[in-house]
Symmetry: C2
Subunit: 368 residues, 2 copies
Amino acid sequence: MQFTLLHKDASTGGRWGRISTSHGAFDTPVFMPVGTQGSVKAISPEELKEMGIKVILCNAYHLYLRPGYRIIEKLGGLHSFMNWKGAVITDSGGYQIFSISPLQKVDEEGVKFKSHLDGSSHFLTPEEVLKIQLALGADIIMVLDECSPYPVTHLQAEKALERTLNWAKRTKIAWPEDKNKGLFGIVQGGVFKDLRKRCVEELVKLDFDGYALGGLSVGEPFSLRREMIEFTTSSLPSSRPRYLMGVGTPEELLEDISLGIDMFDCALPTRIARNGTVFTKRGQLTIRNAAYKEDPGPLDPECDCYTCKNYSRGYLRHLIWAREILGMRLTSYHNLYFLARLVKEAAGAIKKDKFEKFKNEFMRSYKL
Amino acid sequence: MQFTLLHKDASTGGRWGRISTSHGAFDTPVFMPVGTQGSVKAISPEELKEMGIKVILCNAYHLYLRPGYRIIEKLGGLHSFMNWKGAVITDSGGYQIFSISPLQKVDEEGVKFKSHLDGSSHFLTPEEVLKIQLALGADIIMVLDECSPYPVTHLQAEKALERTLNWAKRTKIAWPEDKNKGLFGIVQGGVFKDLRKRCVEELVKLDFDGYALGGLSVGEPFSLRREMIEFTTSSLPSSRPRYLMGVGTPEELLEDISLGIDMFDCALPTRIARNGTVFTKRGQLTIRNAAYKEDPGPLDPECDCYTCKNYSRGYLRHLIWAREILGMRLTSYHNLYFLARLVKEAAGAIKKDKFEKFKNEFMRSYKL
């Protein structure tokens, strides 16, 4: 895996870059659709390609529990399993273990947890989490981390941070140094600058291929989140990509791109789509509303995606109310296309040193 | 609407024909996927086209209740509403009113029923049912009929038949004689030959563009069903298409084609697909079974559909267990493709006077 920083925006922290993997290259900033269980919900691989999407994220936690990583390995790894020819990044499962597993117990060695599916007990070490992701065949792999909730005390955040650092070291030792793949460290430290600083310093010494910002967007105030991102990205080496996990609304993407973030993933765009909420240049639109009953217009008149070119708001409203799968397909397609186009336009604006202007114009229209 | 009988099989009742509509022509025998609520469940119009499907069925009852036919009319009719460029046949809603409406009361004038969605009361006459289908923009329209259950007494079946005939006459009077569209009568009469005979005679006098066989596959024994179909098709004019409503397994299709049926529709192929049951040349396969956990092979090794060319049984099993929409898309695609190919091959065999052989060979392999 190779990251090339191609251009830095003149007046913001915005960066245009490119990541090359053995499953193709993609430009940053990038939004990576989430294929939690080995499928980007409701969308086919060909449709992702059609939208210009070249990298997706899959969840090691979910795939470890079902169908099991050995099955995926036997079936040729995630790319072959899913019929996806682009790049795949897998998360370590740390976030899921600490958020959706009904019970977890963590010690220096690793983390014990129960499956949210059947209550079965599992114990994973950072080395095993690496092994799982390697078996899945991911192009970019995340170290196992301990994600702190919000609010959290300094002491608690420090303990989680120390464990995260210790696990990062062990993962790096176990790492096979496969040049075709990338290993990312995860910056923790809650909302405490001294802890974030220490975490960055220690991780950078280990020289990861990229750095993720973990433990953010977990309920902290917007200003604190912004402060933490700005502080963290400014201390990270510019030669490595920065990945903000779990972020995915248009306004957050643009805000965080301006703070120097390169990579994003989020399940929200497809989740809200299935419920009938879509992004448009004029803000979010809830297609269930009675106002759209007889509306012959597209979801977003300024969008040229398959959904907007072929279907009316009236039809989409009907499909969503009638719980038709096609409705969820079409709204999911639109939302992913919208974000793919947004990050592409953001990169274009950064190239021309006009990101600030682009962001402000987008937000003016989006917040109407 | 125009039907041309192109060839009759030498040794069975099998017929190869062609129906032309203002939304394109299609060959018979034909299987029409069901778009109950204005969408063939989980499948896009482009995918239907890709499979060679040129005609679908939509349910007037469902669309009348939601979103309402006036909305569809305002949005340009069903073709425009659904982004479907092929032909559309709508059923009259008779079957739904008598099967899924929680309460119905029928008299000479029409039928009173409650919506299965919200319990609201509705009253529809045959003329209104025609008007609704015209407003929906269907290419082929069905008269309102009264569908008898099974078992039913001769007297009950006779009463339903008389009402059906009376409604057929009224519908024919109200029919605008639009040459671009076709109006089909529905043969009722339960499992009584004298009633079926009388119904056919009366309907043929009215000279419909095609004839549907109603009130079958409602629980009667297989031999009785076969007898009724054979008896009815033999008394229908060969110059008109015969449509057997609600039939859709491979074995039934081939059986009924051999009895002279030209058109079929059924929700079963996509319904069982969403639950993980698929058709293969070697019979039905339940992909949920543990046996397929690590199976790298396609659903059906003898199938060349998109699903079979790109996805393993192991992956599809995982998607269905994980309730992923993509799993339902891929299995639905396969089942519809399977039937589209089956009727195409059936037509090919009829052309060569080899339908009997084709059917026997298919069944030998299918029943293995």
